[in-house]
Subunit: 183 residues, 2 copies
DNA sequence: CGAAACATGTAAGAAGTTACATGATTAC
DNA sequence: GTAATCATGTAACTTCTTACATGTTTCG
């Protein structure tokens, strides 16, 4: 069976939305889809090169300032076709969520649970901050209904991320109360 | 910065709970901690070998039947020390959850949202089944309070997984109603 | 006796991370 | 001018997946 290469489809999807440089794509990973997939620039640039060789994307060079060469990539019709296929195909495998903190809980000894109070406090702060950041983005990016309609997909994943974080936080706080009692 | 090698600590953690073979460990990944970390036997066996070389674990060979050699691994004191360090150390990095389905939603065109109705139905079934499986496990494994006290860590992560799936399902069903309207 | 599960490994390659490397532009 | 950010790449290494390879034991 062939490997998935999800990064390929993500890049195609981003380029269908708008012509972008590798750096732009890197930024979108950080800002918008990082909750659900991450990729470093050291993976993005080689993939762009590969996709261009496969004629799924093409690029033009723009000179910025006096010598900086920026490569603006665009999706080709062939690329669009492959993208559509991926988007509308079933997604039958539920990937395991790698959560190191929850995993650690599996290994704690009942007697030592009290030692984790600080760790729970840290996690609560981390997830609280993340949630607040996500909510702030929701407020600023989707201030008007028009924005929501214009980029419904972005709205959807932000909404999902917020929902997820709210659930996670509630669970954390709930457990925190329990272990705090036993301290 | 050194690499994490989380698998190392998971194996140490499992072996602290009980003496196990590589096959046992593989099973525990499938049955108990697969919601939060996965690993194939092709990664487990070499790692066991490595940990043994580092004297963090040791093994004895038991002959089963007439010729099958099973390797039972045990954690050493050195291994226990490293394990404790990992468990009680902060976990400051929130790993990105790779969720291919949610990611696809980011790329859908508003006009084409109706095409995703079937895909939402599939996801709902998948997550419903997963949730039911988790709940069934909760009922069977933690039938009594005693079981819960005996293996609190296992109870905690199962509870977390159930919580997560319930939230996910609610969100899916909510969105499903919305896209169904626009079909 | 046959199938399912148990049991242990290696090989090849893809995916992902961290570090190495370099330089330009912009905003203060 | 200088710091932050923009911008593009490669190298080395770890991690993860899939496939290859082989054989035993248990249960019906």
């Amino acid at each position: 069976m062939a490997k998935k290469n999800t990064l390929k489809y993500i890049i195609l999807g981003l380029l269908e939305k708008q012509e972008s440089t590798g750096y732009d794509i890197k930024k979108i990973f950080e800002d918008e889809i990082g909750e659900f997939w991450r990729s470093n620039h050291s993976q993005i640039y080689p993939e762009l090169k590969k996709l261009e060789e496969q004629r799924l994307i093409s690029f033009r060079v723009e000179i910025v300032g006096s010598k900086l060469e920026k490569k603006y990539y665009t999706i080709t019709d062939e690329g669009k076709a492959e993208l559509k296929e991926w988007i509308f195909a079933p997604t039958p495998e539920l990937l395991a969520t790698k959560d190191e903190f929850i995993l650690k809980l599996y290994f704690i000894d009942n007697k030592e649970a009290g030692k984790l109070v600080k760790r729970f406090e840290e996690q609560i702060v981390l997830h609280q901050e993340k949630l607040e950041h996500l909510k702030f983005r929701m407020q600023t990016v989707f201030a008007s209904q028009k924005e929501k309609e214009l980029n419904y997909g972005h709205y959807l994943i932000l909404d999902h991320a917020i929902n997820r974080e709210e659930g996670y936080l509630l669970w954390l706080k709930d457990q925190y109360i329990h272990i705090k009692k036993d301290e």
